[in-house]
Symmetry: C2
Subunit: 333 residues, 2 copies
């Protein structure tokens, strides 16, 4: 693992990670050695969190550790994969042991829960950022990809959307929320729950899936683009939390302009990122089987729309009027 | 791959990478899907290069792309593994297309040479840094680990050491070199050659191996520590390039003090990092087989010392006097 394996990761984390039977060699050599079970395919995802871009530099390190792993687990959930091993590239200005220990608290709370072993890493000096690579397993040809959505498929979303987005506005002091619900939004922002169980249950049922990191509209847009189709969302069915609904009029007041039929809080819910819920498509003939399955999920699942032939994303009112939906997902540059 | 798969990596790199038959799903979904051949183990390494720490922010992006992959390939070489797939996490202040394209020139020149497919990545906004995760393959129980060195084993080094270290001094204008050899040192610094062929050939022969990223003394020290042994280096046998030897007196003059028997240029050669040569140990009874094998290597291999029971690192003069060697490897914090 390059020049730094004798640095912070080895010193603080090699004893804290769980040890899986399929890791002949973990942290502490030039590379880790891992055993992929016969008949399983390997799934690899990578995501970086940069200080003052993806989290405030002063954020609690435990939240940063949790989220750096969570966003990667969410990628695996969106593939229907089972997580197994992670590597961690940690860049920080100085070797702040307290920060690293607290980072580990958050990281390992989630890693232990999903039986993920940290198998290697690199600690470097520089502006604070965290890159996690997540490796997981999947039976052949069962991956939930983006390109499989078919005309007529039903579009579902787990949990609720928009909460993390309001959490970000609250954190940036752009929105004031009553103390009683402030925590809810910040928790959604800092501690997203990767929908691993749900993703794995969707294998063989969903034709396409994605996790919502850039906002429902943008991420569903990726599915539509990859599948060469379009979609119509039933806008009154977009799942909003009670807390979000309680803030709706405040969000509407904040909006400088209203450029469509849709109230600003609904556009916020569709365009806010960081929820890490799953959006996926189910063919109508699997609906009954799917809706029975959903009862075992840890979260609600909501039917929000349908795939159609005409490309682009449209919204339908409860009265049946159809109007284009334009939002902008999180822009990286 | 999180929020940015529709960003620079997908736009610029998905068409530039080679396509391997063992990649059912590459760049462009939430994660990549990879097929590990039956009977092979998976090897994973990760390394980060940070601007103004590991390379000057103004470095040629092609050199940065080359080196970001090279240092990871070198980790696989040190395990005896065969490289297969890479992911790339690229953080940059703005989406500079020219920079990204030139970065790709360097990255893919090396990736193509070793049949490495770029299977995913993440592009984020922030201070310039590059994290590559390298995945490779290895037959079971054939890994070259750090902990296997035995008392009596012979210590070998590929190529020459110290050149990249002088390259860094030249780049930082701390050392002036004649134009004729300046290029040699900078090339060693910017374009290290991963010793993959050599590492793979050492399977079943070497008892331990490491790549030299922190300097021969520090990296051999990692092997000694992991193996619970010590070593004595024949200091007059440390392999130095002709160019390095030509600069020796200049390096000796630069040294502010001389605190041991050993001339400063020799201590520089032992403590300078970034050479990415391999250091490994061979039991004496395999010496004949090994030295026959070496004739097929792309580089020279030099016997530099021997593993002994007494912990620590010692140097032996050509007259047979033994004196402790103290150097400091590259310190990350």
């Amino acid at each position: 693992m390059g020049p730094s394996e004798f640095d912070l990761i080895e010193r603080f984390f090699s004893q804290r990670t769980i040890h899986r039977g399929d890791v002949p060699l973990g942290i502490g050599d030039d590379a880790a050695i891992l055993t992929v079970p016969k008949g399983m395919e390997l799934v690899a995802a990578v995501d970086t969190l940069v200080a003052d871009v993806h989290f405030p530099a002063g954020a609690h390190p435990s939240d940063v550790g949790y989220k750096a792993l969570a966003v990667n687990l969410s990628d695996l959930a969106a593939m229907g994969a089972e997580p197994a091993w992670a590597t961690l590239a940690l860049t920080m200005q100085r070797g702040d042991e307290e920060w690293v220990k607290a980072f580990g608290d958050g990281f390992f709370s989630l890693a232990d829960q999903y039986k993920v072993q940290l198998v290697g890493g690199d600690t470097t000096r520089g502006p604070l950022s965290v890159t996690v690579q997540m490796l997981g397993l999947l039976p052949p040809e069962q991956a939930l990809c983006r390109h499989g959505a078919q005309v007529g498929d039903l579009i579902y979303v787990t949990g609720t959307v928009g909460d993390a987005g309001l959490g970000l506005l609250i954190q940036q002091n752009q929105l004031a929320a009553p103390q009683s619900i402030r925590h809810h939004f910040l928790e959604r922002l800092h501690r997203p729950k990767p929908r691993l169980k749900e993703g794995q249950a969707l294998r063989g049922l969903a034709t396409a899936a994605i996790d919502i990191s850039d906002g429902l509209a943008a991420d569903l847009g990726h599915v539509l683009h990859a599948s060469g189709v379009g979609a119509t969302l039933s806008m009154h069915r977009i799942p909003l939390s009670e807390a979000f609904t309680g803030m709706a009029s405040e969000v509407d007041r904040m909006a400088s302009q209203q450029d469509s039929l849709w109230p600003p809080h609904l556009i916020t819910a569709l365009s806010a990122g960081d929820d890490y819920e799953l959006c996926f498509t189910i063919p109508p003939d699997r609906r009954t089987v799917f809706e029975a399955l959903v009862r075992g999920f840890d979260c609600d699942v909501t039917l929000v729309g349908e795939i159609d032939m005409e490309t682009g994303l449209r919204g339908k009112t409860s009265q049946g009027d159809v109007v284009a939906v334009t939002t902008s997902g999180y822009q990286h540059f």
